[in-house]
């Protein structure tokens, strides 16, 4: 599978801290260093709306399941729920003691979950008017870097070298010691494996049920950046940003480098978002984002 550059968007909002597809991949959200969030149609490079209200850098954002709300968190320690259509902040959730590094909705977008630099993960009830978190997960001993939420699990990575997943159904927390500070963690699409990228420039694939190491992917460089990684939509490739300005693609099973997508030479690619269903990829580097994909898929998307 080959990825080509389909669109390049200069977001004009300072450094793009994060880029995220929405739930169906039709839109994307970029979080800017200028305290703004922008909603785009990446396939047409169309700016749809700008959301201003954060007091500082926006570090992560997430669209709700019905795409009517955006959840965002930033350096101003707040988590904000935005109304997509009006652009107004609906709720501001204050409670974190330090910058909010990652935010996620649960599957039904009834709970906002935010991870922070203050070592906690907070679960906020969006349905009620309560301003107190439902639950605070204090297991991490260092900053939370990345988070994934499925319908019954919360997967977090932390700089304390651990990947934790909280199984709500079992009432169980599983800590997997990785040995290096973990910057990004993702479930594979089948939910059976965990992909964790660490600061030692190695991405590891673990079996979720046993915690055994299945594969390792290396070659790229992370340095001191929070480099994000991901699995493509068919679970065939592992994708990761790198300091050298390329998106590295590995074969999941063979662990050999399949492709290197040149984004912006010399500038690290720190954020990455994989389309939930189609072979598209968004990468963010500096102030611009790029949409990658196969042209045929793009055509299909347009037809659809």
């Amino acid at each position: 599978m080959k990825y080509d550059v389909l669109k390049t968007i200069d977001c004009k909002q300072g450094a793009v801290r994060a880029v995220r597809f929405n739930v169906d991949g039709a839109y994307c959200i970029t979080c800017g260093g200028d305290k703004k969030i922008k909603l785009w149609n990446p396939h047409t490079s169309l700016l749809l709306k700008t959301y201003g209200g954060h007091g500082s850098d926006v570090l992560d954002a997430c669209g709700s399941c019905d795409s009517s709300f955006i959840l965002s968190g930033g350096s101003d320690k707040t988590v904000i729920v935005w109304d997509v259509s009006t652009g107004q902040p609906i709720r501001r959730l204050r409670g974190h003691a330090s910058r909010v590094t990652c935010v996620r909705y649960n599957e039904e977008s009834t709970v906002a979950i935010s991870g922070s630099h203050d070592n906690t993960v907070m679960c906020w009830d969006i349905k009620s008017r309560s301003n107190e978190p439902i639950q605070v997960l204090r297991e991490a001993k260092d900053s939370i870097t990345y988070m994934q939420v499925t319908n019954e699990e919360i997967l977090t990575s932390s700089l304390d070298c651990n990947v934790r997943f909280y199984d709500i159904r079992k009432g169980q927390i599983t800590e997997d010691f990785v040995g290096e500070p973990v910057t990004c963690v993702n479930f594979t699409r089948d939910g059976q494996c965990i992909l964790a990228s660490a600061t030692d420039s190695v991405i590891r694939l673990f079996d979720k049920t046993s915690g055994e190491l299945l594969n390792e992917y290396s070659g790229h460089k992370t340095d001191d950046f929070y480099i994000e990684s991901g699995v493509n939509n068919t679970d065939s490739q592992v994708l990761s940003g790198s300091v050298d300005g390329c998106v590295w693609c590995w074969d999941l099973v063979q662990a050999n480098v399949v492709a290197k997508l040149q984004h912006d030479p010399g500038r690290p690619i720190h954020s990455l978002s994989v389309h939930p269903t189609a072979p598209f990829l968004l990468s963010a580097s500096g102030g611009s984002i790029k949409l990658w994909g196969t042209p045929s898929a793009e055509n299909e998307e347009e037809n659809a």
Binding site: C65, D66, S68, N106, E107, E108, T110, V111, C123, D125, K127, I134, Q135, E139, N151, E152, C161, Y166, D167, I168, R169, K170, G171, Q172, I173, T174, E175, D176, F177, V178, G179, E180, T188, R189, D190, G191, Q192, C193, R204, F206, T209, S210, G211, E212, L213, D235, S236, L252, V253
Partner: protein
Amino acid sequence: MDSDSDDDFVVYGTRRELDEDDIVARKRPKSIADQTVKDKQGRQRFHGAFTGGFSAGFFNTVGSVEGWTPQTFKSSRSKRADNHGQKPEDFMDEEDTGEFGFAPKTVQVKNDYDSIEENPKKRKFAVRDRSALGHHALNSILKPARSSVGIRILKRMGWRVGQGVGPRLTKKEKKHQRQEISQTKKIYGCSLPESEKAPEPTRSHSGSETTDSDEGDDTDITFAPDDYDPFLINPKSDSFGIGYKGLDRRPVLSNHFSLFEPPVTVKEKSKQLTIQGKGFGVGAMEDEDEDIYAVDDISNYDFSLESRPSTSKAKANSLKALPSPNEPITGFVASTITLKKNYFPPPRLPPNFQPIHVVKKSRFEPSAVDQEDNSKKKILTATDRCAIIDGAPPSDAPPSKQCTEAMREDNVEKAVPKPVADGVFRPFVAYPDKQKRYEQYLVLAKNGKKDQLSKLQPLSMTDWERERERLEFEQASKLYQPLSAAFSDRFVVASQADDSTDPLVEVKRTADTQNDRRDAAKRKMFGPLTRVVRDWAPASLLCKRFNIPDPNVRDTSNEKKKRPKFSVFNFLDASTFNAPSVSSETAASDDTPTVIKQEVNDVEVEEQPNEQVIQPIDTTNDTAIADVDTRDQNSTISKILETGEEPSSKEDLYKAIFLSSSEDESNDEEPDPVTPAQSAVGSSAPAPIVNALRNTSPPRGIFANLDLDALNARKRDSDKEKESVPTEKSENNEQKNSVANARECSTNPTSSSELDTFAYGPALPTKPIAKEITKMTIVYKKPRDDDKWVEATSTKKNKKHKKDRKSKSHHKHKKSKKHKR
């Protein structure tokens, strides 16, 4: 005409000149503009026609001449002591507290005014707030009866109740005075005719003398003047005529009426005419209506034919006068039961109570008790005295408290184990007895016999003290607990003393619990070494929002399930699931006793006849098989029990049971690998079986492309090959397993390939065949997998529905928004 009219009349005198001043002096109607309400300072009070605003600020502006001046900041730092905080008065104008303000204040006599008892210096004028706020209605109800200040002063001056006030009089003077008073008696309204005048009532209360006697005409003896009749004024609160009482406001039915009193009375006999109880009068010209609401009264009826006895006067008198204490009030009957008053004895004083309270001048002063000790005024107890006298305990003394106490203590010591050893914090060291009791209490609490504390306590303690001590102990035991697990997790016990001064002392590196994990991670031995699984309690609301049943609630039921019970159902699972594992165990490890093999064979033999029934049901219904199998298992159990096998074999049996239960769990939950604990229990479980138990859902994701079935099939084929050649020897587990199978096969007439078809297909063999148990497990698993699959899809469907609904509702929302616009 008018012009002529002047001429028509003759004018006498000269017309007076109209005085200019007079005209000016004539009162002109004041213009409305002039009719302004002004306050004391001459400022306009109200502004605007209807607003009724109050005057504010400087000439109705705000602030001062310069305009509004903000309050200057005053540091309260230096005078923090007199910073009292704000009162409502600070925000009110002076008019507000005036007569017409909303919080009028008047100067009043203090309620507890007392010129004599109180220090006059302290006397203050109580400024009572007349506003409803802050006035306690309850206070006025509970006010103690007390005489007025004037009466108290008079009493102080020698006046007695019942006497009049004024200079003392001789008898003659007094008589004269009395006559004067009677003559000048005022009569309101028409005076009654002279004949009907009531005789002057005798004064019953005039204290000094009651009878007129002409004898003792002593001028020396003087008397206090007569007291005036207290002139009681009932405040009139209604606008009815004098003496009229309106109808009762309460509704007719709720009104309590008595049969003995005429509801409407016109008392003519006692010369006063009192009228009560009619809403509207009847005019002179009209007849009185029939009173439909009148309440019939029993006194309206005659009970005998004879004429009424003329005791009306007496009756009237009795009505007027208060009944004597012995006679009951009309309508009441003297009670036959004498009322017994509840007598509450005064509280018993504690034995060490001192009636004198010594106020300490400073808190550093030694306490009164200490002083007493110092002065050796200690009250000697019986034992003390004995010790002083001869050192022998009081033996001939009657069984005193102390004796019983000692006996009790003996009993208690028998009942109560010795207090726990050192290491426990001692909060009551100052009181050794109490400390001892506390330690004993701790032991009791440990044993769950807290209520036996009362037995420990000496009799001399009052109930109140006992209760207090019990509470104290409870508190102390709570406070001085060892650090809870949550805390001890976070803190490390200091290796150095707090007061150590040497900062350069080498700090020992604490044992790093993560070290082994780090090593394992370094050696890339991820898995059980790097994994920690802990219990975690998600908040119930979180579970709710995730649409997941609360695991905390479910946990209890799970625990119940986990409890190793020797139940028939456990046994059922043991046979179906663990027989293969046990058999493979026997094959894998040669050192296991041969008894197990026998037992397993027994089980197999026992099951054989039932197999036909079991297997077809297996595929359809799980519960049915349970019924069938229980019978089966019962028989096996009984058989085992009867045979009275060796303990070692029994142990294995139990092991098998527990193993089954743990496997059962893993089935209930997600396909799970063998956790270390599990593998420790069932160390013999061979890999292929575990894998079969593990992930049986169709391959997804990265495994999607792999043909697992094909792989499995190949393996099975190879197994078959090995089975077909039983003599072939090999080292690995699987092969051993196959050898075991082969052994079984040798006992069974049917081949394994036949069994294969039998296991999956619905066709039944014609004759009972020995079961190959590994196959049976597969059969047993199959329907479960199906169940699981179905469940998964159903949940997905549900979610879809929800999403649909949500999107619909969203559309609605949007629509409504549009409408609004």
